[in-house]
Amino acid sequence: MAMLSDKVRAILDTGAEVCAAADNSCLMHIGGALSRQRTGVRTMHLAEILACTEARPRAR
C-alpha cells in the first residue's frame, strides 16, 4: 500500500491520461488505486496499444 500510493503520486505528477505497462498484475494493482481515487487516469496493457487501429482506436 505504501509503495502503491507512491506510484500513484508519481503517475499523477506526470499529468498523463493513460498509464501503460506490460504486466497485468501491476495494471490491476495500480489501476485499482487510480479508479478508487477517481483520478481519471486509465490503465492500458501494451498489447492494447499495439492492437489499436484508426478504425478501432480503443481496442478492448
Binding site: 500500500m1 505504501a2 509503495m3 502503491l4 490491476m28 494493482h29 489501476g31 485499482g32 478508487r36
Partner: protein
C-alpha cells in the same frame, strides 16, 4: 538451531514503521543517496559483471567443498599459532567465548562491529556471566547505549538523528561535556574520548570477520572507522567469531572481494581500514588468538540446493538500499539480525521457515536486489522457493483444515486451468457467463467471499466478449 527465535510477523511489524512519516522520510533520503553513489562507483569498473561472476563462482566453490576448506582453514590457523573452536549453534558459540574471556581473567571486552555476534546475541550472553562488552563502532555504540537493535547491516543507527544521539550521549556517558552540541564532529569526538579509555584498558578484543582464508589461515576485518583495527591489535587476547560460510580459498581471491565489497556497500573505491592477521606474531599484536567457527543453521541452509546461495552473502547491504520495501519499512520490521531482501531469505534459512514464515512474503519480487548483488544471489528465486516451503510447511503442520484449505484448492484448480489450452478457454467461456453480477462499467471492483481481500485494492477486467485468442484466429 536448538531453540530458534520466533520472529514477529512482518506485516504487523511493518505497519508501525509505515505510520512513522519521519522515519519513512529519513529512510527514503538515506537509501536514495547511497543508491546513487553505489551506481556511480560500480559504473567506473569496466569489468564489473566479470567480477560479480568471479565472486559468485568462488563462493559457490567454497560451499560445494566447505568440509575440505574448513579443515584446511583449521590447520592453517593452528599452524600460525591460533586456536580453533567449533560451535554448533549460538548457545555453544557464546559459551565458548564466555569461557575464554573468563579464563583470561577479564570482565570487560572491546568489540568491533560483527553481525555474527548480533546473530548469536553474544553481548547478552556475556552480560549474564558478568562480562561487560563495549561496542566500539560508533553506530553500534549508539545502538548499544540506547538499548536498541540495529536496523541496517552497514549503518545500524540509520533510524536515529543527531539530536537524539546528543541526548543519548549526555544521558549515558559519564565523561562528556555538559555543553555537548549536536554537531556530528562533536558527537564523534565525545564517542572517541569515551572509547579510547576502553581500548587502552581492555585485555580481550572480540571481532567478527569478513573473510577467512583457508590457504593461509589469515582472517580479515573490513571497516571504516579504525575501531576494528584497535580491537584486533591492542588487546593481549583476540577472539574472532565467524560464520563457516565466510571462507575464501586463497589469498589471491581477496582481489575479487576487496573490489566488490567497498563499491557495493559504501560506494568507496577502496576500503579505508582493511585489517589482516595470521595467527599470532611474537611481540606484535595479540599474543593469543582464538577463532570460533559458527554453524548456527548454516549447514541446514547448505542442504537446500536452491536456497544455499544465500550463504554467498558478503554483507554489503546493497540489496537493502535498493529495496522498495526496505525503503519504506526500515530494518526493524524484519525482526531479525539480517534485514532487507537478504534477511528475508537468510533468516528463514538459518532459523527455519516455521520461525520466520512471513519474511519470504516481505517483497514485491521486483528483482532490484538481484541486479545489485555483488555475488549474484538470485534473491527473487529463493523468495519464491521459500514461499513454497512455507505453504508446504503449513499444509504439513497446520492439520486437516490447512491441508484442504480453500486457497490451496483454488491454486491447484488454477494450475490445472493454466496448464492446458482447452481448459483455459473453457474457463474463459464459463467466466463470460458467470461474471455478469460482478462487472460494473467494464471492471470488476469487488470479488465475493475469500477473494474480497485481494480485490480490496485491485480492479479486475471482466472476460471480454471476444478473447485475444479468438480474435487472433479470425485474422488468418
Amino acid at each position: 538451531m536448538t531453540d530458534a527465535a520466533v520472529h514477529p510477523p512482518f506485516p504487523e511489524a511493518a505497519r508501525a514503521a509505515l505510520a512513522d512519516s519521519q522515519l519513512r522520510h529519513n529512510l527514503a533520503h538515506a537509501t536514495q543517496t547511497i543508491r546513487a553513489k553505489r551506481a556511480e562507483a560500480v559504473g567506473e569498473v569496466p569489468d564489473w559483471e566479470q567480477l560479480r561472476e568471479a565472486g559468485r563462482a568462488l563462493k559457490e566453490r567454497v560451499l560445494r567443498h566447505l568440509d575440505d576448506y574448513l579443515l584446511e582453514l583449521e590447520g592453517a590457523v593452528q599452524q600460525a599459532g591460533g586456536v580453533v573452536h567449533w560451535a554448533r549453534d549460538a548457545e555453544e558459540a557464546n559459551r565458548i567465548v564466555g569461557d575464554l574471556v573468563l579464563a583470561h581473567g577479564a570482565d570487560e571486552v572491546v568489540k568491533s562491529k560483527s553481525l555474527t555476534t548480533e546473530e548469536t546475541k553474544l553481548n547478552e550472553a556475556l552480560g549474564e556471566r558478568g562480562i561487560r562488552a563495549w561496542e566500539t563502532d560508533l553506530a553500534q555504540l549508539i545502538i548499544q547505549l540506547a538499548g536498541d537493535a540495529p536496523s541496517h547491516i552497514l549503518v545500524p543507527a540509520i533510524h536515529k538523528n543527531r539530536a537524539e544521539i546528543r541526548e543519548l550521549f549526555l544521558r549515558t556517558l559519564d565523561d562528556v561535556p555538559d555543553d555537548l552540541s549536536d554537531d556530528p564532529r562533536a558527537l564523534a569526538e565525545a564517542a572517541r574520548r569515551h572509547l579510547r579509555k576502553r581500548f587502552l584498558s581492555a585485555t580481550v578484543g572480540i571481532s567478527g570477520a569478513n573473510f577467512a582464508i583457508a590457504e593461509t589461515g589469515t582472517v580479515s576485518v573490513v571497516e571504516s572507522e579504525g575501531n576494528g583495527r584497535m580491537c584486533t591489535t591492542l588487546p593481549e587476547v583476540l577472539i574472532t567469531m565467524v560464520g563457516i560460510e565466510k571462507i575464501i580459498p586463497t589469498w589471491q581471491d581477496l582481489e575479487v572481494f576487496l573490489q566488490l565489497l567497498p563499491r557495493s556497500s559504501t560506494a568507496e573505491r577502496m576500503n579505508p581500514y582493511t585489517t589482516l592477521w595470521t595467527g599470532v606474531t611474537p611481540g606484535d599484536g595479540p599474543q593469543k588468538f582464538h577463532l570460533v567457527l559458527v554453524d548456527n543453521g548454516r549447514t541446514n541452509a547448505l542442504a537446500d540446493t536452491i536456497g544455499r546461495q544465500a550463504l554467498n552473502c558478503i554483507r554489503c547491504s546493497a540489496c537493502l538500499n535498493v529495496c522498495p520495501v526496505y525503503e519504506r519499512t526500515g530494518g526493524h520490521a524484519y525482526g531479525s539480525t539480517y534485514p532487507g531482501p537478504i534477511g528475508a531469505i537468510l533468516t528463514p534459512m538459518l532459523d527455519g521457515v516455521e520461525a520466520a514464515g512471513s519474511l519470504p512474503y516481505a517483497s514485491s519480487l521486483c528483482g532490484a536486489c538481484y541486479e545489485v548483488c555483488p555475488v549474484k544471489i538470485n534473491i527473487p528465486e529463493v523468495l519464491v522457493h521459500l514461499r513454497q516451503e512455507v505453504v508446504e510447511h503449513t499444509a504439513r503442520e497446520g492439520g486437516i483444515r490447512k491441508r484442504f484449505s480453500g486457497e490451496r484448492a483454488a491454486m491447484e484448480a488454477l494450475a490445472r486451468v493454466f496448464a492446458d489450452r482447452r481448459a483455459y478457454e473453457a474457463a474463459q467461456r464459463l467466466g463470460r457467463r458467470g461474471q455478469w453480477p460482478l462487472a460494473r462499467h467494464g471492471t470488476i471492483e469487488r470479488l465475493p467471499g475469500p477473494l474480497a481481500g485481494w480485490s480490496a485494492m485491485r480492479d479486475l477486467r471482466p472476460v471480454p466478449a471476444q478473447s485475444f485468442r479468438e480474435w487472433w484466429r479470425t485474422r488468418s
